[in-house]
Symmetry: C2
C-alpha cells in the first residue's frame, strides 16, 4: 500500500505520487523528463488518442506523418518561430561516425517540417482547404523541473496543420477546432476555458492563440491544448501560394491545433481523489474489473461466474479485466481504486448462487447487477458514473474562480481570478507580477458565471476597453 | 497519367515509380531516406498496424512505449550489439545551446533502451513471462541507396521484447511469434519463408535469428521481419534476473520480434501489376470506391444512388469512398486502379434506374450488385477478390524458386535458388559470392516443394551435415 499525500494540501506532491503508484508511468529511465509508457499508461493514452482521431476526422482532417528531423536551414525560416524555439531543441550533429553537413533538429512542433512540402501540395484553390494532422512525439530541451505528462522532454503530441483560402476561412477553422475540442472534452469530462492569450504569450509566429485551460486546484491551471491562427505569417516565408479561380496568386492562411499527453495529466489532476486516479469510462484502460471471491466452501462457482462475465462483457465490446490473482480481495479493491477503474464487479458465493454480481463504481455507488441483464445494467452503471463524474468536475470548476478587483486581491491567490483588464500590456504585466503567474487571456465566449459588465481595469482603473480576463498560476 | 516502367523488366524502377504515382509516399523532404507519409500511405500503414496489434495482443503481449533517445553508456553495454550498430546511428550531442554531457543515440532498435528497465520490472518468477511490444519509429544512418518503405533512415517499426524463464520457454515464444506472423501474413496475402539465418548474418547479439523472406521477382527477396532468440546474451550485461520458486536467482532468456513498414513495400512489390498497386482488402485505405457517372439527361439519380451506397457501406463498417470529383469516369478508374482499391462500384443511368451498381474488382472481375443485397454482395466480391489475390501470389511464390546443384548454377541467377549446404561458413561465403547475394538460411519447416534429400553441398560436394538452404539477392 502506498501513502498518498493529501491532494488539497499539495497538489503537485499528490500528483507525482499518484501517477507512479497507479503505474501510469515509470520514471526510472536514464534521461530527465523522458519517461516510460507502461502497459497501463499506454492503454489510457491509446483511448485518448482514439477520441482525438475520431473527433478530428469527423471534421474532414486526414492523418499524415512527417519526418522527426528538420534541417537547420528550414527550421530558421520564420523569424519569430525560431526565436521562440532555438534555445529548447535537441540537435543531431552526427550520423554514424561522421559529422553532418547540416545539423538536424528533433521537431519541437512541425511547422518547419511540413510547410516547405505544403508549398508543393497546394497549387490551386481546388487543393484547399488542406486539413491534415499527425500524432507523433515531439522534443523540447526543458530546463525547468519536469513532471510526468505535464512537462516532459519527449511529448506525445497531436498537431493539426491547415491551409485555408483566406483569413476568414482560417477563422472558421479555428472555430471548428474549438468545437471538436468541446466534443473531446466531453469524453474526458473536463470543463475548461477557451482563452485568447495576450500578445506576449501567443505561440511564436502566430497571429493569435486560443488556449484551452482548466483549473486544477488553488490558483493553478493546466493548459490542455491550443488553437492558433497564423494568417500568412508562415505561408509567406515558406511560399505556400495558390491560384484563385480567377487566376491570381495568393498566400494561404493557416491554422494549427495542438494537444498532448498533458490531457492525461489533467484527467488525473482534475478527477483524482484521496484513493487515487479516477478515469472517465472512455479513457479507462479497463472499464470494468471483475474480482472473484473464492471463499472457503464456495468451490469454483465465483470463478466460473466471473469468467462468464468477462467473456460476455468482452463480447459486448467492453474493455473488461478479470483479476484472478492470489491477493486477497481487499488488496485488489484498493489497487483498482488507486488505478481508477470506473466499475468493479465482485462475485462471491452469494452472488454466484443468485447469478448476480456486486457492482461498485469508483465514486462509491454500489448495488447488485443481474447476470440476466448484465450488459445493459453495466452500461447503465457506467453511464451514471460518467454523469456523476462530469457533474462533480463541473461543480469544482465553478468553485475554482474568484473575482479580484484590485492588484492587492491578486496577491497570495488561492483561486483562479476573474478580472477586468483594459487590454494594455503594461497592466497585464502588473497582473502577472501580483499573482506571481500569468494573465491567461480573455474568454472566446463569456462563461455564464461572468455576469454584468467587467468594470474598471484591475491594474490602472480605466474602464476604456475593459474586458473580462483570467489570471492564475499555470503548472 | 503516368507511364509506369514494366515490372518484369525492372522491378526497382517499377516499384519506385508506383509508390509515388499511387501517392503512398512523398519523397520531397529535405533529408535523404526520410519520406512523408501522405494521407493515402498513412491510411494503409494504419491498417497494417491494426493487424499487427490484433495478432500480437491475441498472444498476450501488451503495448508500451520507451523513450526515443538512449544514453551512449547504456547503448554500449552489449558488445556484439554495439559493434553491429555504432556506425549506423544518429547522435544527439546538443540540447538547446549547450553540449550534452553524455551523447544520446536515436534508437536504431530498443534493446538498450528497455533492458536496463526490464531489470527493475522482473524480480520474481511471477513476473514472467514479460511480453511487451511497441510500434515506434527507429533511425538508422543508412549510407546505401534508400528506397521508400524498403530501406529508409526513419523506419516505422514494430518490436516485441520478451523475458522468459529459460531457454525452452524462449524457444516457445519464438514459435508463438512465427505463428502470429503466419496469421498476419494471411491478411496481407503474402507467402513467405521462415529461414534461420546463417551465423554470420544473425542479429547483433542474438543466439539465432529466424527471418521472414518473400521472393519479389528474379533472384530478389525482401526480408519482411525477423524473430530472434537471445538466450541470456543481453540479460547478462543488463542484469535481468529473477528469483525462482525455490529461491535461487537466474538470468531470463529473451526473444524479440521485429516488423516494419517494409511490409507495405512487400505488398506493393508482390501484388502490384502493370496498372499499379493492388491492395488486399484488409490493407486498402478504401475497400470500395464509388464512382457516379452523371451522363447527359440522367439528372441526379446516379449521384443520389452513389450517396446512398456510400452511407450504407460505411454504416456496415466498410472503408468506402465516393469519388464525386469532376474528372471524367475513365480518369477515375485509371487512378483507383493505380492506387489499388480492391473494388469499384460504378453507378450510371442504367444502374440507378435498376437500383444496381456495376462492380469491378482490381483483378478485373466484373458484374452487377443489387442495392437490395448491397452489403452482402460487396462482402462476397471482396472475399472472392482476396482469395484470387492470395492464389495468384501463391502461384508466383511457387514459381519463384529453382534448384541449383553447383556454384556455376548460381551465377547470373534469375530465380531464388534452393540448394544443399553442408552448414560450413566457408561454403556459405562461396554461395554468396556465386549468386552475388546472400545465403538466406535454412527453412524452419521444410516447404512442400522441397522433396527428397538435399543431396551434396553445392559448394564442397560433401553430404555430411547437408541441409536445404536458400540463396538469393536481398533488396
Amino acid at each position: 500500500m502506498v501513502d498518498l499525500p493529501q491532494k488539497s494540501a499539495d497538489l503537485i506532491e499528490w500528483y507525482l505520487a499518484v501517477v507512479e503508484a497507479a503505474n501510469l508511468t515509470d520514471k526510472r529511465y536514464g534521461i530527465k523528463g523522458m519517461n516510460i509508457w507502461t502497459p497501463y499508461g499506454f492503454a489510457a493514452r491509446r483511448n485518448l488518442d482514439r477520441i482525438m482521431v475520431r473527433e478530428i476526422e469527423a471534421t474532414g482532417s486526414r492523418a499524415v506523418e512527417f519526418p522527426l528531423l528538420i534541417p537547420a536551414n528550414e527550421f530558421a525560416k520564420e523569424k519569430e518561430h525560431i526565436k521562440g524555439f532555438d534555445a529548447q531543441v535537441f540537435w543531431v550533429t552526427k550520423g554514424g561516425l561522421t559529422d553532418l553537413d547540416i545539423p538536424l533538429v528533433l521537431r519541437p512542433t512541425s511547422e518547419t517540417a511540413m510547410y516547405p512540402v505544403f508549398a508543393t501540395w497546394v497549387r490551386s484553390h481546388r487543393d484547399l482547404p488542406l486539413n491534415v494532422y499527425q500524432i507523433v512525439n515531439v522534443f523540447r530541451y526543458e530546463t525547468k523541473t519536469t513532471r510526468p505528462f505535464i512537462r516532459v522532454r519527449e511529448i506525445h503530441f497531436f498537431e493539426e496543420h491547415t491551409c485555408q483560402a483566406d483569413e476568414a476561412a482560417a477563422t472558421d477553422r479555428v472555430r471548428s477546432n474549438l468545437e471538436a475540442f468541446r466534443r473531446m472534452a466531453e469524453a474526458f469530462a473536463l470543463p475548461y476555458l477557451a482563452l485568447r492569450r495576450p500578445e506576449w504569450d501567443k505561440f511564436p509566429g502566430a497571429y493569435y492563440t486560443v488556449a484551452l485551460d482548466t483549473p486544477v486546484g488553488g490558483a493553478h491551471t493546466l493548459q490542455l491544448g491550443s488553437v492558433h491562427h497564423y494568417r500568412d505569417n508562415f505561408s509567406g516565408p515558406y511560399g505556400i501560394r495558390y491560384e484563385t479561380a480567377d487566376g491570381s496568386s495568393r498566400l494561404v492562411h493557416q491554422t494549427t491545433f495542438g494537444l498532448s499527453e498533458r490531457l492525461l495529466g489533467a484527467i488525473v489532476a482534475v478527477h483524482g481523489d484521496a484513493k487515487g486516479v479516477v478515469f472517465p469510462t472512455a479513457i479507462a484502460p479497463y472499464e470494468v474489473v471483475i474480482v472473484p471471491i473464492p471463499g472457503t466452501g464456495t468451490g469454483e462457482a465465483p470463478r466460473s461466474v466471473a469468467a462468464e462475465i468477462l467473456t460476455r462483457l468482452r463480447a459486448a465490446g467492453r474493455r473488461a479485466h478479470l483479476d484472478d490473482g492470489d491477493e486477497r480481495p481487499g488488496a485488489k479493491y484498493y489497487r483498482w481504486e488507486l488505478q481508477g477503474a470506473p466499475l468493479r464487479l465482485e462475485v462471491g458465493r452469494r452472488e454466484a448462487e443468485s447469478r448476480t454480481a456486486m457492482a461498485v463504481d469508483r465514486l462509491g455507488q454500489k448495488g447488485p447487477v443481474s447476470l440476466a441483464a448484465l450488459e445493459s445494467e453495466v452500461a447503465e452503471r457506467l453511464a451514471r458514473f460518467d454523469r456523476t463524474l462530469a457533474e462533480r468536475a463541473l461543480a469544482s470548476f465553478r468553485d475554482a474562480f474568484a473575482p479580484a478587483r484590485t492588484l492587492a486581491d491578486l496577491r497570495g491567490s488561492t483561486s483562479v481570478r476573474t478580472i477586468a483588464w483594459c487590454g494594455r500590456e503594461a497592466c497585464g504585466h502588473e497582473v502577472e507580477s501580483a499573482i506571481d503567474g500569468a494573465l491567461l487571456g480573455t474568454p472566446e465566449e463569456i462563461p455564464p458565471f461572468l455576469t454584468g459588465e467587467p468594470g474598471p481595469c484591475v491594474a490602472c482603473g480605466s474602464t476604456e476597453g475593459s474586458r473580462w480576463a483570467f489570471a492564475g498560476q499555470p503548472l
